[in-house]
Assembly symmetry: C2
Homo-oligomer: 680 residues x 2
Amino acid sequence: MKKNLTRENRCWIWYPGDWEIYLHEQISVRRQMRGVIYPAYWRLDRHYSSVIFTYAYELEYPEEITIHADGKFAVYLDEKDNERYHDHRMKLPAGKHELNVTAYNDVGVPALYIEGEHIKTDSNWQVSCYDKQWHTVGCWQDVLNCPETKPSKFRLETSTQQPLTVERRTDGWFVDFGKETFGYLQLNGIKGRSDLTVYYGESKEEAEDRDHCVLLDRVSLDSTQTDSIFTFKESRAYRYVQIVPVTEDFQIESISMLYEYLPVNYRGSFKSSNDRLNEIWSTALYTFHLNTREFFFDGIKRDRWVWSGDAYQSFLLNYYSFFDREVVKRTLIALRGKEPVGAHINTIVDYSLYWFSGIYDYYLYTGDVSFVKSQYDKMISLMNFCLERRNNNGMMEGIEKDWVFVDWADINNDGEVSTIQLLLCRSLETMALVAKLVGDNDRSHDYSKQAVDLKSKVIDVFWDHDQGGLVHSRLEGKLNSKVTKYPNMFALLFGYLNEKQVETVKQHVLLNPEVQAIKTPYMRFYELASLCEVGEHRFVLDEMLNYWGGMLDLGATSFWEEYDPNQTGTEHLEMYGMPYGKSLCHAWGASPMYLIGKYFLGVTPLSPGYETFVVEPHLGGLEWIEGTVPMPEGDVEIYMDSKIIRVRASHGRGILRYHKEGKTVETTIASDGSWLEVAK
Amino acid sequence: MKKNLTRENRCWIWYPGDWEIYLHEQISVRRQMRGVIYPAYWRLDRHYSSVIFTYAYELEYPEEITIHADGKFAVYLDEKDNERYHDHRMKLPAGKHELNVTAYNDVGVPALYIEGEHIKTDSNWQVSCYDKQWHTVGCWQDVLNCPETKPSKFRLETSTQQPLTVERRTDGWFVDFGKETFGYLQLNGIKGRSDLTVYYGESKEEAEDRDHCVLLDRVSLDSTQTDSIFTFKESRAYRYVQIVPVTEDFQIESISMLYEYLPVNYRGSFKSSNDRLNEIWSTALYTFHLNTREFFFDGIKRDRWVWSGDAYQSFLLNYYSFFDREVVKRTLIALRGKEPVGAHINTIVDYSLYWFSGIYDYYLYTGDVSFVKSQYDKMISLMNFCLERRNNNGMMEGIEKDWVFVDWADINNDGEVSTIQLLLCRSLETMALVAKLVGDNDRSHDYSKQAVDLKSKVIDVFWDHDQGGLVHSRLEGKLNSKVTKYPNMFALLFGYLNEKQVETVKQHVLLNPEVQAIKTPYMRFYELASLCEVGEHRFVLDEMLNYWGGMLDLGATSFWEEYDPNQTGTEHLEMYGMPYGKSLCHAWGASPMYLIGKYFLGVTPLSPGYETFVVEPHLGGLEWIEGTVPMPEGDVEIYMDSKIIRVRASHGRGILRYHKEGKTVETTIASDGSWLEVAK
């Protein structure tokens, strides 16, 4: 318990992780199927309802404090717990004392806010759930810092938006908001009394299909009982809505919506000589923002859930756009949940492993060592769970109904799947890294050794010399000779291949039309990143223009969960055996933003928090590109055309790397914000 | 998933243990200090808010069912989870199908109740918290079987009771309810408007002491706004209340209270030739019933919490009075909580260990193998936690702020406390027993061996030949030569001493005035039981008449947390540094009921569920005794005077054991309910 008597910002405090876990519980049951709840199908953990806060202080003079609590509270001093108070104003005695506050809230999160001249709640407090362990409290200093805004009442921001068109039809209204959106529908100036149904659609077809649209609302309205603006209770994903009252003479003056969003800074930017690519970038940004909410969602209509594999890509997208640390931390906390680990994250083996990589990247991009350290205990228990599920060969398989996902594709994931072992390897490296950060050198050493051993075992077992790549899996000692792109992409991206192997993977796997093609934007993310890693920027640019451009051609205003250029008409809307099952606004559809930031603007941190970084821009066939990539502090700005490269950065030790006359040149970027310009 | 198409009782179902854990969370924050909450200071676990129920059925014809849920629900059939329903009436198709119902409730417990001709909720359903494990649901068939009574709304019963006296004082009313009670105060026929304070007291002194009474209520009343009967919101423990309105002309027509209680059967009974003893027995019964509620409480004023060491004695008291299985099960579930084990139960080492003994005795007295089996996983994890906390000698010590309690007494519990090792030994025996019941023979064998090894080690290390008993502890390899009664009582009661050791313990420890006396009724429980075990019934009778009789002499209407005959006046009310800190209605004060049932009426089960049992009655100096001891089915009835013994039982294979002309005689008791009479 640290003393802190300086005047700093005060904020709400809670048991670390509990507000995030509470919020995750709440949002995980907001998915609906035609009005019926559809809760996430993994264990939802819960906040502790009863906690105790503590703070040791020293005051020269007595001080009056004001106490706010989200829940019931009791205050006592110096362990004298027979003397309890719950007055909102209290005079603290001078001298050295220990201030204890118990708080109880079984509905929301028990949280505390104290205002005094010197004594106030902030990250210097400690908290316990009465298990004899004390932890630094959780808080969100920048946002949850006002006594009136209790953490349990936290809501995203909203702003009113008007539709593009409102069509009066015989039995109602048909509204087009002009683009995919998310929020609360509003009916203004209603007259009369009627039951009323609203059919929502991400597509026109969906909103028009009263029997099959996924989202709908049924309400009874009466203008004598309702405010002049009726706002629907639940926020939904849609572009189109069809509003159908039962009563013929029911009137609505106008229709609008409260767009609901997480306020973020649009720090990343991009422009190029290709307008189509620019539109792809901005549509990706919008798609991504819609899915960047309390947490990183997979899609806003479906599932509205937090999936680790999806979130992992969102983390990377975020580092090249909003650089919002808080939503990354919230998502990592929510995904991991509480002890004990009873099943894999989202019930999927790979999804447990992506969580570790998420920690790795968070540290690399932000340098936020304190958050990473705070997750160490939970990393150990999840890793123990994973390691206990290895077979006799030291490899992970799906056991006891574990789901081995890898991708939506025609692949067989029984037995030892090479991709899974590579993800485990990266996870072990993450463990080694964080163990070292917390000073747990023995464990760090051990994890490192396990990672090295596993890496060489994976190459030994799965590398197929004749086919020039890693094969997909081994079942009961027998190799599946099928080469898939998945293990080769990951091995390449994690730097597990030598130069020669990289070259054969490029030629024989990544660029080989005989190897099974990837159909989901989810795995195209890694595929296209891998191709950039091996210098195929021009190829990747074409892919982006064709694949994501293809969606734009079909009128997409946000990118989809899946896109198959060979489909036609309403086939594009179907998925999971439902006519409108496909999510038309899916975070993983936004990957061009990452590819552009990392491989075209070419910015990569080399050490945690961009202390060192490299800028290696590529035109990939474009005439010029320019843009901004955010760092923890300040940005990197890049301009490049066929003649020059200009870079400036306000932080860190950056290196500009470029190719001139067949040679690789490296030049230091000044950290004073002045432009570096080189001729190519 | 079992099929069940017979017409049986239906009931609410939930995730096993979750309703109990929810209820425990709620009651654990009802303790107050002068209106301020005083939550239990251990981790309070919580119910899962999101669960899924499943049931496989086969129907000849379609069937309509009615669905009730405590929370939101969604139904789907045969894993087709894109088709969800939440209508309260639904037609199930004929044939073989799997019925799935998801339920969400973050405030109360998600629970389900289905009524159909063949399909209904009962203990044949399974449930999961989505961790890939399925469990048999929890339910309380006898009580929570009505669709209108949602499990989260469960309340104890109430009945109106009138005060003994109501005294009008200058500024209010002073009420005496005639005896210790628990419930909601009621003001009838109020007139006027006033703020009003109620001061409660277990003693007259407490209710009269406005500045120090522990419980109080402050309300604002207005007869134009209130029902004619005003019932206070919270139920409290008291005998006396002082009601003080601010406004002089505020009128109350009459005062009553809603006595709140758990309905139980008074199955045990006792009468003897000694009226004082009979009064002790009935006061003990009343004390015990007041503390037998949602769970077994320690005391009704303070702490209103569930303490494992206290509950363990309540379990035994219950077997000789109400034989209410449900409250035992609820208490065991609540005490154990959820995974992971982060600290000892109630933070006390001994209290973790009593929990195991509670399981042992529950099985012995009830024979309920299915409940005991259902706790096996939680037994393993708690035992692992305990075993991991052993030192290099294989003994448990308090580590990392563990609290080693043993008793409120002048004892030093640092290092290896012999009593703790004995309790661990008994816990290992319980593990071995239950492991065998579930067919886990390897573990059973291992636990048995550990128990045997530990037992002999404890005797080796702590037995002091010269002093004729076990010494209290060993610290850093050095024995504490102080002999205390604690380890000797437990070793004797658990049957760990040989005949010779029993005799020396009796003479040199239990009956030795030089050995530190026990002051709490809590440990007197084991002390007096031990003395009965060695035939000192006459001595124990005197102790009961003096000690518990002493409290009656002081006007007790329920037995206290502590009683020191040497104290006088208001000293009897003080404890924990508070003038009214002592609980005057404490479950552990009721021990004579156990001593009488087990050692005077003399009934002990020999095998689980009283399949075999022994009746060995003792007069202990009384002219005659008679009484009833409940068995799982039926009762044992006993009458004894100096000439004859009469016994009858309606179940099991009982043996009457008695002493005649210096010899021990054993006679079989018929199980047909006919009387067996023997002459002494």
